[in-house]
Symmetry: C2
Subunit: 212 residues, 2 copies
Amino acid sequence: MKIAILIYDGFTALDAIGPYEVLSCLPGAKVHFVSTEPGPKRAHTNFLSVMTDYALNDISDPEIILVPGGTKGTMVAAEDPRILSWLRKAHETSKWTTSVCTGSLILGAAGILKGLQATTHWYARDFLQKFGAQYLSERVVRQGKIITAAGVSSGIDMALQLAKEVSGPEMAKTIQLIIEYDPKPPFDSGSIAKAEPSIVQLANQAAQEAFK
Amino acid sequence: MKIAILIYDGFTALDAIGPYEVLSCLPGAKVHFVSTEPGPKRAHTNFLSVMTDYALNDISDPEIILVPGGTKGTMVAAEDPRILSWLRKAHETSKWTTSVCTGSLILGAAGILKGLQATTHWYARDFLQKFGAQYLSERVVRQGKIITAAGVSSGIDMALQLAKEVSGPEMAKTIQLIIEYDPKPPFDSGSIAKAEPSIVQLANQAAQEAFK
């Protein structure tokens, strides 16, 4: 099970690491962190680097592709012809092509979401249409072999659904127990439908800053 | 807000990255990934390296300490005198000393949990007593300034609770919305109290393998 997780400067670490932790438990999984060239890539907060061991062209036929989101850096990645052409090529033969958060904008820029329903971080919901996709306000959206997830933490839910598709419900439930995913958020403020308007406004301001 | 996240070979990436994504949003947060010496550190799956920018001694007075868990590598880290003496010293002046998953075994080995209630990954629950701590089967356990969280994904819940303590509920709710943490696991299999016995057995076998 060859898995490629795209990494680029400015990616959001949890977008990638949530699903990685789930997918790395799949039987026979080999997870490859790939970037335009191997080496350290900085997360959007600038507090952290992840090393990638592989260049894009080292991993040409992944069964699962995962594209994490980010803030400004995602907009740069979504215009990088090396990333877009690798994605288009890898998508031709992938069994699953997935994104978390604004990673769907990179899929969109590669032309992969044209005419499809998809999701993304709530802040970026208007950006998706630019790529011919129809935004759905759902945590995980599946269209054939393409699965897009909403903001940041939603990648964990998406990966567990994918684990079920790939290896069956018994394995997916086992992985859920291994990562002890029995969430108990202290508030019910994790979606714009549930958060108080003042909280939505604060989060919106923070997101605006992050994309500047 | 000086935050130190301990990294060592064999750490579980989501243990560290879940809380990091939350805590890095705190006003004035500076997150430092620290290890015995700066450089790449391998996650327990061997699929991933995280770069640390700081040696332990570069960060001597963090306000928040976070210790992630792992499998075999955690047992090695829990016997590393450089890590234990740094932890003891940093804990003297920290405002918050926290762990995720088997990270609590490292806190325990440093003598920090003696006589206290604490939690850890369900698989490691019997190990905690060795360090004079009393295991509680809860997702997050607070004892004064010490907060321990259960397995892997529980660090996100812990960090949101900590965000509330540090910066108030409005900020914590805003961060929850920024990371769109509105969890919808496809199964209810995230704790040993809820998972089917056959799933507990499978997860137990996988954990045994991982600690070999």
